[in-house]
Amino acid sequence: MPQTFSRRQFVASAAAFVLLPRGARAMRSAGQHPTPRPGITAAKVLTRDHLDGSAALIEVFDGVRAIPQVIDGIRCQCGCATLDGFYSLLSCYEGDDAMAKICHICQGEGRLAIRLHREGKSLDEIRNAIDAKFG
């Protein structure tokens, strides 16, 4: 019996499905979720023209763009929340160097928030889900 067992082996042995590349492992965070800024828009969220034709990225960026008032009330758990200029998960999707272009945690949080919003969940319920899965 091997003494160590990687995550990949763990899942492969169970279900044999392929994991997506793992982003930085999020740590449990004690940070508070931000209050959505009144009148916030998605004007700075990157559009498909800036996403190198990646269908998966375009989908999540478009989804975030549709609900900036929700995404702006979520604290990202990837560690970027302490960076200068960061306000909310929405910040991860803004600007040429938007972290969500490369960060799987930012992307996963965005996708989860988009789905739960479509399912009619409140902002607090979405925050709790993000914390439970990524915190």
């Binding site: 003494q3 499905f17 793992r22 982003g23 740590m27 996963g108 990524f134």
Partner: protein, 293 residues
């Protein structure tokens, strides 16, 4: 004379921060995160420098001395969440570290809330301190005093100080982020025989068996796998109806909760879980399952 020496020593120690300089006890540190609890120690690291005896000698640490296990300014211990050390509660904060060094019997570990204290001014015993006995052990020679955590668990580890042939181990426990146990009443809606299929590119693969049982106050899952590690895994509740697999090591201890990579989301009908989907870290459905009985 003593005051003058102290002043010189303080000046030299302060200079450490300002100039590149070879010091007898270079500044070091280590940080360890365990389940979101960050443990940090900063200390100057004395070397043996060929001394035959490091403890019980006038040239190093004298018996009965209240000694900082380090050098220069007192070693510091910092945690961002509550922990216990050998069962003694330590609140979040930063402490100076001291040990009462004895020739026989146990030593006394002391955490004092006052920091930035020079080693020649150890604190008197007071009510704000955390004090408890620690045992010393013989160990292979280590020239440079070293604090480390050579053993880690999901909920803690061994905090160790070693210098020369003397080692002190302390058990450090953190507050776990999840409860691995649950009541029978909370577990029952999920217990049963299930089947599931992997989902790849939207298509379901072959169906496999999946058993959820309740053992040692823990909800556990077992599904199609040839791996001994995956014969039984904990289903750790992370949110209402959401569970992540907790992987056991050979000693039966959960060493990782496997999220966000795999989260099982159950659906109930009439109070009983009847189906689930498993989603990966990108919220993609990678498995679907339903209750068989």
């Amino acid at each position: 004379m003593k005051t003058r020496l102290l002043a010189i020593a303080l000046t030299l120690a302060t200079a450490t921060d300002l100039h590149a300089q070879i010091r007898a006890s270079e500044l070091g540190s280590f940080t360890q995160t365990i389940d979101g609890t960050k443990i940090s120690m900063t200390y100057s690291r004395p070397r043996g420098r060929g001394r035959d005896t490091l403890f019980g000698s006038v040239k190093s640490v004298r018996w009965g001395e209240v000694w900082t296990p380090g050098a220069n300014y007192a070693t510091t211990f910092e945690v961002n969440r509550p922990v216990t050390l050998d069962g003694h509660a330590v609140k979040p904060g930063i402490y100076s570290v001291w040990m009462v060094v004895r020739q026989s019997g146990t030593w006394t570990m002391v955490l004092d809330p006052k920091v930035r204290v020079y080693h020649m001014s150890p604190p008197d015993s007071n009510a704000t301190q955390i004090r408890f006995p620690v045992k010393t052990h013989d160990a292979p020679y280590l020239d440079v005093l070293t604090w480390s955590m050579p053993e880690l668990r999901a909920n803690g580890g061994m905090l160790t100080m070693q210098w020369g042939r003397t080692r002190v181990d302390m058990n450090l426990d953190v507050e776990p982020s999840y409860a691995l146990t649950m009541s029978r009443a909370d577990a029952d809606p999920y217990v049963g025989v299930w089947e599931y299929a992997e989902i790849d590119s939207g298509k379901a693969g072959p169906t496999h068996g999946f058993v959820i049982d309740y053992e040692n106050q823990t909800l556990k899952g077992r599904w199609h796998s040839d791996s001994s590690y995956f014969k039984h895994f904990a289903l750790v509740k992370i949110a209402p109806e959401w569970f992540a697999p907790g992987v056991y090591d050979d000693r039966g201890q959960v060493y990782e909760v496997y999220k966000p990579e795999l989260v099982l989301e159950f659906t109930r009908e009439n109070g009983r879980a009847t189906s689930f989907v498993a989603r990966d870290d990108q919220d993609k459905i990678v498995m679907k399952g339903k209750r068989v009985r």
